[in-house]
């Protein structure tokens, strides 16, 4: 029966100085991508027997990344660095995780929580978003008693801004609810820290020995032109992207809310595209006005993902590039249109400093304006709690996330630096580690910064082209169901098989975990036999071998981190100077030889 073990020899070894596959090095939480890809590739191909196996893979993923199901729908950071990019298309890692989560979510909902002994200090987490939850999850596993203070009426924070057509609600709710239940975190909803009632001081008195602030960036940024605010933002029909998406996620916006209306969305990021494609699905004739230009490669290129742009374009959303908003034209307190000068430059050496060509101005008319130009943290609370430095910026150590002003306080997530969901989760994990070190009075920075070298693409003759991802045709997408079709079992296995597993064995060990192989010792060189001919160098597809001139002459050396102990170099060595230690093949041959000699089958 298919069974993957993750203890003992099959456990992934903690990376010391090590090569990692580029996807894992790129992933902020270094998820075991290669291992789980290989495990998926070894799944049985009929659904019944595959299901329990998929759950085992899910459990393995969940153990290190409880958000993996959500990642499977929204994050594709690892795919950007995949070695296969240049040779046939990156491996569709996100869809592979989504495939696992489709089976895993129901299992998670009924999964029995871990019995953890909470014998350590109380820790308060301010903010129930990905950063806070991740920190709480990790600290609870370490035995801390964690309480999460969430300002709104539900956990999840900015994740709720992701539209349903990209992230199904059940996946998000089950994941959030599952995390709390699995580690038994105490959650206090509708409790905002920082406005009188709850202060950090109060938390300290309540017995919380460490506090992790991750409130995210709730306040949307207003529209500015040059130094000053664009007037007319208070007209009716003008709203801000965040709040709009927030309301949609709460179900407060009835379908075809914008039917017959012309909607203008300001902004060039992914959130702006979420807003536009949501508005389009609500019936609005939607256009995006972006400050940035069309060429993504240039410095002033539009930041939104290529897939988002393509999706929006397919769904009939007009995209107007390199346009700023100088004035909002209003008529009897209602928004009627925009005055949009051409933007000739977005950034200069000093940073964001747009410049416009007033001669080339475009007037756009529209009934609704949704401003989605980014969001910022709630500065007042931070000032009150004394967490900012002289220049009004957050005073926090970037490596340990510890506040410079108040030692027990740690800050992370979008609040600290706007980024992807997985970067916020990374902050959560870093903060958890720092909190434990702080509470255990250990050195805060030792061994924290670890740099991994990236394994380059292994050599082969044929590189396979990527599978084509199927989207529902644009005309049928005007709803909030998923528009992207996930992998079937066979497709998942096929794509997982395409993964080159280019990382070293010790950070994978998938084949050991399912008992396909029992040992992974790297190839060993018998230096008294090696003459330095270099045939093994060209036999190795992972460039794990190099020749080196030592005192006894030129000999070959194996880089234990890169070696896959596949045995290609062993069989190619003319002097028999390479071995894999005791090799099952030789033993099997001996028994076969004995068998052949005395087995019947003699000539009649």
């Amino acid at each position: 029966m298919w069974n993957t073990v993750s203890k003992g020899t099959a456990a992934v070894e903690r990376a010391v100085k090590q090569y990692l596959p580029p996807c894992q090095e790129q992933c902020p939480i270094n998820e075991d991508i290669q291992r789980t890809n290989v495990l998926i590739s070894l799944l049985p191909d009929d659904p019944e027997t595959a299901a329990p196996a998929i759950l085992q893979i899910g459990d393995y993923l969940y153990d290190k990344n409880p958000f993996f199901s959500v990642c499977g729908y929204v994050c594709g950071l690892c795919e950007l660095e995949c070695n296969y990019h240049a040779k046939g298309g990156a491996i569709k890692r996100r869809l592979l995780k989504r495939f696992i989560s489709d089976t895993y979510i129901p299992h998670l909902e009924t999964r029995e929580e871990w019995s953890l002994i909470k014998h350590k200090e109380n820790v308060a987490i301010v903010g129930g978003g990905p950063a806070g939850l991740m920190a709480g999850f990790d600290l609870s596993r370490r035995g801390y008693r964690v309480t999460i203070f969430e300002a709104s009426d539900r956990l999840g924070g900015a994740l709720w801004l992701i539209p349903r057509y990209r992230l199904p609600e059940r996946v998000l709710t089950s994941t959030l609810e599952g995390m709390v239940r699995m580690v038994g975190m105490d959650v206090r909803l509708n409790t905002r820290i920082g406005q009188g009632k709850w202060t950090l001081e109060k938390l300290r008195n309540e017995g919380f020995k460490a506090i992790f602030i991750a409130q995210g960036t709730p306040t949307p940024r207003t529209l500015t032109f040059g130094r000053n605010q664009v007037e007319g933002q208070d007209l009716s029909g003008v709203m801000y992207g965040q709040t709009f998406l927030y309301e949609v996620s709460h179900g407060n916006i009835r379908p075809n809310y914008f039917t017959g209306k012309k909607v203008l969305v300001i902004g060039g990021g992914n959130v702006a595209f979420d807003v536009a494609r949501t508005a389009r699905r609500l019936g609005g004739e939607t256009s995006i006005v972006a400050l940035e230009c069309e060429d993504k490669a240039s410095r002033d290129g539009i930041p939104a993902d290529v897939e988002e742009i393509r999706g929006a374009w397919e769904e009939g959303i007009r995209i107007i590039y390199s346009r700023g908003v100088e004035k909002i034209i209003g008529e009897s307190e209602r928004m009627k249109g925009l005055v949009c000068p051409r933007c000739v430059r977005v950034y200069d050496e000093k940073g964001f400093n747009p410049a416009f060509d007033p001669a080339d101005t475009l007037v756009l008319d529209g009934d609704v304006l949704i401003v989605t130009v980014g969001q910022g943290p709630d500065w007042t609370a931070l000032q009150e709690e004394g967490l900012v430095d002289g220049h009004g910026r957050l005073a926090v150590d970037p490596v340990t996330l510890q506040s410079r002003n108040r030692k027990p306080v740690f800050v992370g997530g979008d609040l600290r630096k706007i980024g992807f969901m997985v970067e916020a989760m990374q902050d959560g994990l870093v903060a958890a580690e720092s909190i434990e070190r702080y509470l255990q009075d250990r050195d805060m920075t030792e061994g924290r910064k670890r740099v991994f070298e990236v394994q380059d693409i292994p050599m082969r003759r044929h590189y396979l082209t990527e599978p084509e991802v199927v989207w529902i045709p644009p005309e049928k997408r005007m709803h909030f169901q998923l528009f992207e079709r996930g992998f079937t079992l066979t497709e998942a296995i096929e794509e997982a098989r395409r993964c080159l597993a280019c990382g070293p064995c010790i950070s994978c060990k998938a084949c050991v975990s399912i008992g396909l192989r029992d040992s992974l010792n790297p190839a060993e060189v018998l230096t008294d036999r090696c003459c330095g001919c270099g045939i093994c160098v060209s036999a190795c597809f992972y460039s794990a071998i190099q020749l080196k001139d030592v005192d006894m002459g030129r000999i070959s050396l194996t880089d234990a981190f890169k070696c896959k102990s596949c045995g290609m170099c062993v069989s190619s060595c003319p002097s028999g100077a390479r071995t894999l230690g005791e090799d099952a093949l030789e033993a099997a041959l001996m028994t076969a030889a004995a068998g052949l000699q005395n087995s019947p089958g003699a000539v009649p």
Binding site: P44, R497, L589, A592, L596
Partner: protein, 132 residues
């Protein structure tokens, strides 16, 4: 027909029957040797097997482009092409060594591939060992 050809079958663990423990029913004259990768096979492994009494060798390798170790299957193919003339010089017809490129996780196809190979070996008759 008394002649029962003796067959050794090397199968790649990453492509064939890893989902079923392979040491199924033991046929006296068939020896199944799973290996991590067909590319790991050395010419001497095959020659030794013929020398010890095998009448044929079947290598079950992964499908083109699907080798877990990149090109082990292609390595095995190249080795077999080189081996052909050496085998023929010793009276071993090249039909006695066959390599199949496919994926069969359950190993459902292995038994009848073995039967198929044994039939073709039976057709060739016992191996003339004059030069072995």
């Amino acid at each position: 027909m008394g002649y029962e050809p003796k067959l050794v079958c090397f199968s790649c663990k990453f492509g064939w029957g890893y989902l079923r423990d392979l040491d199924g029913p033991k046929e006296a004259s068939v020896f199944l040797i799973p290996v991590e990768c067909s590319g790991k096979l050395d010419a001497i492994h095959l020659l030794k097997v013929f020398k010890e009494g095998a009448d044929g060798v079947l290598i079950l390798a992964c499908e083109e482009g699907h080798c877990h170790f990149q090109e082990g299957n292609f390595r095995a193919l190249k080795m077999l092409y080189l081996l052909e003339e050496v085998l023929w010089a010793h009276g071993i017809q090249k039909e006695r060594v066959r390599i199949a490129f496919s994926l069969d996780p359950e190993g459902r196809g292995i038994p009848d591939r073995i039967v198929q190979m044994k039939n073709s070996l039976a057709a060739l008759g016992p191996l003339d060992r004059a030069l072995l």
